[in-house]
Amino acid sequence: MTETFYDVLRRQGISRRSFLKFCSLTAASLGLGPEFVPTMANALETKPRTPVLWLHGLECTCCSEAFIRSAHPLASDVILSMISLDYDDTIMAAAGHQAEAIVDEIIEKYKGNYILACEGNPPLNEDGMYCIIAGKPYLDQLKKAASNCKAIISWGSCASWGCVQAARPNPTQAVPIHKVIRDKPIIKVPGCPPIPEVMTAVITYIATFEKLPELDRQGRPKMFYSQRIHDKCYRRPHFDAGQFVEQWDDDSARKGYCLYKMGCKGPTTYNACSTTRWYGGVSFPIQSGHGCIGCSEDGFWDNGSFYNRLTNINQFGVEANADQIGLATAGVVGAAVAAHAAVSAIKRAREKGGNE
């Protein structure tokens, strides 16, 4: 008998009461009302594990590394109890033709009912032979595995957008998954890597509710990617007050002021870092003193230096005294809103241009 998620919790000495509490917290964190709690509890108590084929193209494996760092649920519980990770060349015991046989077996046995998780992306140049699996282009393996899957999860910025190997001039002609697989639902979970708990939450959501999460226009789960890092940043009051770090390790850096002038891309980056943070809330890039580099955004490698300010707006100067800061605030907020609007408009135009 397959061990369900509920069994795992019970085995760990967790009471039913706590289990239901976990369900309500998870439901709340996914933006769901209390009416979903029984559904979630029922699913976690009874369902067998969904087969997952996790393929690796051109990538750096940071997504897998992020996944195993999830604090809740733990990766061991996901792998042993929530899904059946039948193919993942990074951790699987089998190799060579015994490994490849698994792809065929899962396609045959679970037609239309397995999830294809993609980490990395396929190169198109050199007939795809910049990434070789079993003597053939990775693209062949990808297309075969995609042909009968229920849905695709594009892990990270490689699979979602192209990421570093697709940065100019993209020598291997690496392309994101949605450019080569067009007939399957694709959930993009961008980030380099994505937040570990966001990755496990997306998997849990699908396993629990037996449906795919609601996506935004770019194909990302709305629940984690609909707000800018800047909007929920704990340093935001310093932005509004015109208090900025001017150089590394200056007095303002030690006081935790806003990193906008150091090139922070929080104002144009849609991700959950400033809310969920990393490793169960330990920190996130801005908290640790470096600006956001925008790693979950399409084409973030080609938007100029990470230390360039987003826009050259001069009216953000730090004021001489508290009274003047107070007076300046209204103007600063107005300018900030205008800057956001302008940046968003440029981004929209750029994305349109890139999606021809």
Binding site: D88, T90, A95, W248
Partner: protein, 597 residues
């Protein structure tokens, strides 16, 4: 046909050819082909890097202060070590000195990576080559508990009930028929030598380590904001220190320092109570299986790392040893010069790249790389459906780096051999302790098992060094120094028109260096020579075989159709193929645009 290589191996290609592709449980993509004689001994080995991303051409023309972020994405497993190498290369080129606190914080982060990487490598990438989780079902939980208490008396999780619970969980998992990562393993292969109780103990620790490992990287989340891929800056570290003023809650304060300190303690405890005892215990059952030495007893290379004092990269200031041992002569450790064009060179006669003159090697500052994907005349299959490669022609996306013409092994064992040869006190003590515990002679070090053991010993030593740098950081703050960054040369206007530099680290997998040329404030050339390029190297002009290939030679395989022994030895290097196969052309010349499907 038999051939003797200049580095002392007799290759015979007459036996049955066995192909392993994909070679799993590594970072990236790799293929391996071997010839096995009638007595099931490997008599020829061919290792192939099967991916290429071209990161260095992508770096051309960019801001050198951004290079760490790009190069960090070379690898998400050894995440951070490329970034650290990169900021060191830029700091070397521009003569930037970093504060002592930044050096301590960088060392703590780099050591976290060593420990994490080694632990995850052993339990999650390597253990299934030694441990059979399926026979763990036959174990007696009480006897397993006895074994655990004997192996690691102070490990708190050792009761018969605990092991019974894990066994039940495993039983349900296996009986479900959904075997997940264990599916199609080689579980009835006689190459697995552990008794059921040791298998249950080790499988239990596979799960314990999986649950624990993320703790280790919290140090990097605190100092670098996230992990994998924390943030770094040229000139120091981005996290400011403020232990008593206004805004301390937004900086590295007492709570953050305590947090890091507690992580270091927990990490040390796990390594000492679980990892080290498991290595000794599992090693005890396999000490008769001493295949896999390859180049480790002949030629090893270590760049050194973990500077005691900031900005001093001389061998005497590095706590990880630096030097080269050649021809098996442990009496002499040769110094390394990264700038000498005759020392480190890369060759491509058997790599899928083109040089104007392929008889010559090129120093990284002058390196060129132009992809040239062609199969040798005796390859079987087609260009997009390779059945067998021809190692007489080009056969890998990895170049062949050589140190003064020698193929070298790099990595934890290479570091420990260099440290041992140099008479390094702590390293020698650790090696002697382990040899004594296993009751094996020093020659046993030069083996697959030795490589796996050296990695564990290094994780343990890294824990002590983390504590050392944590104490140093606190002492320095106490003495009134809170500085974490030097911004004198942050602005590109302060840079010379042209500069070149080199940065190096010891990545978990071995010696890593980046060479940078800066022109008019932009990157003019960027080259990385990485650990798996050394270890996974194909043949060179002289016919020398690389470390992976050498290590497989003359190994007995129990069942040629089940590659357990090949996996075991190749995994002992902890291969990282995304690292090894990204090299790109110096001049950034437009690559042949091959047809796009």
């Amino acid at each position: 046909m038999a051939i003797q290589t200049p580095n002392g191996f007799n290759l015979d290609t007459s036996g049955k050819r066995v192909v392993v592709d994909p070679l799993t449980r590594i970072e990236g993509h790799m293929r391996c082909e071997v010839n096995i004689d009638k007595d099931n001994f490997i008599r020829n080995a061919v290792s192939t890097g099967t991916m290429w991303r071209g990161l260095e051409v992508i770096l051309k023309g960019r801001d050198p202060r951004d290079a760490w972020a790009f190069t960090q994405r070379i690898c998400g497993v050894c995440t951070g070590t490329h970034a650290l190498t990169s900021v060191r290369a830029v700091e070397d080129a521009l003569d930037i000195k970093i504060p002592e606190n930044a050096n301590s914080i960088r060392n703590i982060m780099q050591l976290s990576l060593q420990i994490h990487d080694h632990l995850v490598h052993f339990y999650h990438l390597h253990a299934l080559d030694w441990v059979n989780p399926v026979t763990a079902l036959k174990a007696d939980p009480k006897a397993t508990s006895e074994l655990q208490k004997q192996v690691s008396p102070s490990h708190p999780k050792s009761s018969p009930g605990y092991f019974r619970d894990v066994q039940n969980r495993l039983k349900r998992f296996i009986e479900s028929g959904q075997l997940g990562p264990f599916k199609n393993g080689y579980w009835d292969n006689p190459a697995y030598l552990l008794p059921p109780e040791a298998n249950l103990m080790a499988t239990t620790h596979y799960l314990e380590a999986l649950d624990f490992q993320s703790q280790i990287m919290k140090t990097r989340v605190i100092f670098g904001g996230k992990d994998p891929h924390p943030n770094w800056i040229v000139g120091g570290v981005p996290c400011a220190i403020n232990v008593d003023g206004v805004g301390a809650v937004g900086a590295i304060n007492m709570e953050r320092l305590n947090y890091v300190s507690s992580i270091i303690d927990q990490t040390t405890e796990f390594i000492e109570k679980v990892y080290i005892p498991d290595i000794i215990a599992i090693g005890g059952f396999y000490k008769g299986w001493l295949y896999g030495g390859g180049l480790s007893g002949k030629s090893v290379l270590a760049y050194g790392d973990i500077p005691e004092n900031a900005n001093d990269f001389s061998a005497s200031n590095l706590l990880f040893p630096q030097g080269a041992v050649i021809n098996g002569n442990l009496k002499e450790v040769h110094p390394i010069d990264f700038r000498d064009p005759e020392q480190i060179q890369e060759f491509v006669p058997h790599s899928w790249y083109k040089y104007p003159d392929e008889k010559k090697g090129l120093h990284p500052w002058d390196g060129i790389t132009e992809p040239n994907y062609v199969l040798g005349p005796n390859a079987k299959g087609t260009k997009t459906n390779i059945e067998e490669l021809d190692e007489g022609g080009k056969y890998s996306w990895i170049k062949a780096p050589r140190w003064k013409g020698h193929a070298m092994e790099v990595g934890p064992l290479a570091r420990y051999v260099v440290g041992y040869a140099a008479g390094h006190k702590e390293i020698t003590e650790q090696i002697n302790f382990t040899l004594k515990a296993l009751d094996v002679p020093v020659e046993a070090l030069f083996s697959t098992l030795g490589r796996t053991a050296a990695r564990a010993l290094e994780a343990q030593r890294s824990c002590y060094l983390q504590r050392h740098f944590m104490d140093k950081l606190i002492a320095n703050i106490k003495a009134g120094d809170s500085s974490t960054a030097n911004v004198d040369k942050w602005e590109p206007e302060s840079w010379p028109a042209e500069a070149k530099g080199v940065g190096f680290t010891e990545a978990p997998r071995g010696a890593l260096a980046h060479w940078i040329k800066i022109k008019d404030t932009k990157i003019d050339n960027y080259q990385c020579v990485v650990p798996t390029t050394w270890n996974g190297s194909p043949r060179d002009n002289e016919g020398n075989i690389g470390a992976f290939e050498a290590s497989l030679m003359n190994t007995k395989v129990e069942r040629p159709e089940e590659p357990v022994e090949i996996l075991r030895t190749i995994h002992s290097f902890d291969p990282c193929l995304a690292c090894s196969t990204h090299v790109m052309s110096e001049d950034g010349r437009e690559l042949a645009r091959v047809k796009v499907r």
